[in-house]
């Protein structure tokens, strides 16, 4: 009896000690978690042992009815609460989940899971959300899903109004922005979606950033130009997303660097020479990704190169009499983009100051395939008289819709690898041509969806979006529209009839009881 009592008290003391040690370890160091878990687990065992043996002892002496009993009871409640807390602590750290939401709100795609499992460094995620933010809860749920799969992600929410210094430190200018930071790399996101976040995770966890090269030397819009005609805003937003943006002087480099994920020709004003075109041609032939923005009314000599890959450019101009901006600024309204992965789910309009048509040369039909990307509205016209007055002449001009942006790629393009893009393959060639470059300049890039379109194109070319396929979350959506009559019927039948039925049952029972 004595021995048992000593043992029981010893285990109680040791249990409390272990519990406290685990608590301190968690509060002070936080990691590694298994130490805390092990300590708390031991504490749980010891305390349960104490409670069980103690219960018996209490029963042994319960005949005495001493005041000691009150103390015992108090002690037991304390121990019981401690045990429950430890169980909760351990299970809260290692939860199991079952998603019944039907919308997939709590499930993430297998691709994301494999990205998370392969994370080597810790990723710090800061969501800059004001107190009343519409997407805060969504972001919380999303990162809770991520954290369920890995402990490498640390998510915190910062209110930019309450902590303006932190927001400034990260260069946050807008609400609802998320910053991902890992091993010196950073990515800034403006949308909360699994696809975007996982894409950013892949980008920042790479050993080196993906590089976008902008060709220079022919009067292209400059990355350094902060004025209306520059591409500096574009450069900023691409860098914020975690890409490296570099200049490419083809004349001195002779060839396109091997690390180029995408090469952009941003509105050249002067002709390219043969060597430069050869370098670009070689780049495409080894499976390169080229994004050519070619303004109308300029001589670039790029036509033969593009024609070799099946793109036909002509000296023409699109006129859009219905445009609210100007007759030479065709507008593409949301929902009127031809179906393509680049503009899939893209719900913003875009406009293109001065644009030429982009067509496919059927002669090259064979292994290559052309996919239209931009299409002007039905009321537009294509004119070849690019000088003088720009009146529409139905006898000579071609009625719209006119295609002025498109993609060329191989029909048997290999499927994008789920992980990093593998070795070079000529069949991976992708060429996007748009008949206008001004739409991405500083002056208009932040208007409507112009900047987003450019980013969509380059990230599609760099195979960013392909890494994560998105599940359709619309399966659970429904519509609800009740006529006034239906609504009144609903309202009265549920607010009056159902409670009335319950109430009358009660009344009947009560009256019958009273009569008895």
């Amino acid at each position: 009896m004595r021995l048992k009592q000593t043992f029981s008290i010893l285990s109680g003391v040791a249990g409390v000690g272990c519990g406290l040690a685990g608590l301190f370890h968690y509060l002070i160091w936080g990691a590694p978690l298994w130490v805390t878990t092990a300590l708390e687990g031991t504490a749980l065992l010891l305390l349960t042992l104490f409670l069980v043996t103690h219960f018996e002892m209490v029963k042994d002496i319960s005949t005495r009815r001493s005041t000691k009993f009150g103390v015992n009871s108090f002690l037991m409640i304390a121990i019981f609460i401690a045990i429950l807390s430890i169980i909760n602590f351990i299970l809260a750290r290692h939860p199991l989940r079952y998603d019944l939401s039907g919308s997939g709100a709590f499930s993430i795609s297998p691709q994301t899971v494999s990205v998370l499992k392969n994370l080597k460094n810790e990723v710090k995620v800061i969501g800059f959300f004001p107190e009343r933010s519409n997407v805060k809860g969504q972001a919380k749920d999303l990162f809770e899903n991520y954290r369920y799969e890995t402990d490498k992600i640390k998510f915190e929410i910062v209110d930019p109004d309450k902590k303006p210094t932190v927001a400034k430190q990260y260069g946050i200018t807008e609400y609802d922005t998320i910053v991902l930071e890992s091993g010196g790399q950073k990515a800034t996101l403006r949308t909360v979606s699994e696809q975007e976040v996982t894409g950013a995770l892949i980008r920042i966890s790479r050993a080196s950033k993906k590089s976008f090269y902008f060709v220079e030397g022919h009067g292209e819009h400059s990355l350094d130009d902060l004025e209306r005609n520059g591409f500096s805003f574009l450069k900023d937003s691409l860098e914020k997303e975690g890409f490296a943006v570099k200049k490419l002087l083809l004349l001195s480099e002779k060839k396109v660097p091997d690390d180029a994920a995408v090469v952009v020709i941003g509105g050249p004003q002067r002709p390219f020479i043969e060597e430069e075109k050869k370098a670009l041609d070689e780049y495409l032939a080894r499976g390169g990704r080229l994004f050519a923005l070619v303004d109308p009314l300029v001589k670039t000599d790029l036509e033969p190169l593009l024609a070799k890959w099946g793109v036909k450019l002509e000296n023409d101009l699109i006129l859009d009499p219905g445009s609210s901006l100007s007759a030479v600024v065709p507008i593409v309204n949301p929902g009127s983009y031809p179906p393509h992965p680049v503009t899939d789910r893209f719900n913003l309009g875009t406009f293109f100051p001065l644009s030429r048509s982009v067509n496919f040369d059927p002669a090259t039909e064979g292994t290559l395939r052309f996919e239209p990307l931009l299409k002007s509205a039905p009321g537009t016209w294509l004119t070849k008289r690019v000088e003088g007055d720009l009146n529409i002449d139905p006898s000579r001009d071609k009625p719209g819709p006119i295609i002025f942006g498109g993609v060329i790629r191989y029909k048997d393009e290999p499927a994008p690898a789920a992980a990093e893009a593998g070795k070079p393959d000529p069949k991976k060639m992708r060429l996007v041509v748009i008949g206008d470059a001004d739409f991405a300049t500083n002056g208009v890039v932040r208007s409507a969806g112009n900047g987003d379109l450019f980013q969509n194109v380059v990230s599609w070319l760099a195979e960013e979006g392909d890494l994560v396929s998105i599940r359709s979350q619309e399966a659970q959506n429904g519509t609800l529209l009740l006529s006034n009559q239906q609504h009144r019927f609903n309202f009265y039948s549920s607010v009056l009839i159902v409670p009335l039925v319950i109430f009358s049952i009660g009344l009947t029972v009560w009256r019958r009881r009273r009569r008895l």
Binding site: I77, Y98, L100, G102, S103, I157, T479, I502
Partner: protein, 256 residues
């Protein structure tokens, strides 16, 4: 086990021959139905507006738009009426001096506590069952997603366990039913409000602890359609704690 059920049956009979359960159910249903129908009306008129301006019927996640708000409202109404269901369980026995009979009966204290708890929980579950006519009613107008609804009801059922075990504990403390009800209000509203404190102390271990303790944080997951062992553990732990405390109090009365 059999003893628990016998006692629960006796308690259930008491619930159903007294008017209290019916009055509670009537009031609860009127408020819940009213709130739900207003929500239906709101969603429907938003649909109407969008259809007029854009020409197509908007797509909603109906569980989110329609049912999530009603489950939160229901949980608050239930928090306010459940103490009225549990207040008499022990207090009445003490006042009516029938507790001596119960204590000297061959039933163990655990059986007594569990029996009373079970009876109250059955009544609670029936109340929830009655609200099922709302989603059933909606099936004729739209597609109802039953899975997240099942998760939501499970959440409310488990949360009810906390309401009732805390109420039982409060009832065991006193012989005055009003006092018992007030004490359980206090405990439950405390667990409810602790989430607000958590928001002000966010980003600290204390804030994390408080938000873990908050009833609403855990219910929110169920209502969104997520069943998480974390939330199950929380609700079950609090229920067991309430029952354990009741057990201690009732036993202490035996030796007092």
């Amino acid at each position: 086990m059999r003893n628990i059920w016998i006692l629960a049956e006796k308690e259930l009979k008491l619930y159903f021959i007294s008017p209290i359960a019916y009055v509670l159910a009537t009031v609860f249903l009127i408020i819940t139905d009213y709130l739900f129908q207003s929500q239906v009306f709101a969603v429907s008129s938003i649909s109407m507006q969008i259809m007029r301006s854009q020409g197509n019927l908007p797509q909603f996640n109906l569980h989110e738009a329609l049912f999530q708000p009603i489950f939160f409202s229901m949980s608050i109404i239930l928090l306010l009426i459940m103490p009225l269901l549990t207040m008499r369980l022990f207090a009445e026995e003490k006042k009516g001096r029938t507790s001596e009979l119960l204590m000297t009966s061959p039933l163990t204290i655990t059986e007594i506590v569990l029996g009373k708890f079970l009876a109250a929980w059955v009544v609670y579950a029936l109340l929830l069952l009655l609200t099922m006519h709302l989603p059933v009613m909606m099936t004729s107008f739209t597609h109802v997603a039953w899975k997240p609804l099942a998760a939501s009801y499970l959440g409310l059922l488990l949360m009810g366990g906390v309401f009732l075990s805390m109420g039982l504990f409060a009832s065991s403390l006193t012989e005055n039913q009003i006092v018992a009800a007030v004490i359980s209000f206090g405990i439950l509203i405390g667990f409810w409000l602790i989430g607000l404190t958590a928001q002000t102390a966010a980003d600290s271990p204390v804030g994390e602890l408080f938000s873990y303790l908050s009833l609403i944080e855990h219910l929110a997951n169920f209502v969104k359609g997520l069943i998480n062992t974390r939330d199950l553990t929380y609700f079950i732990s609090l229920t067991v704690l309430g029952l354990f405390l009741t057990h201690r109090v009732v036993e202490s009365q035996r030796w007092k």
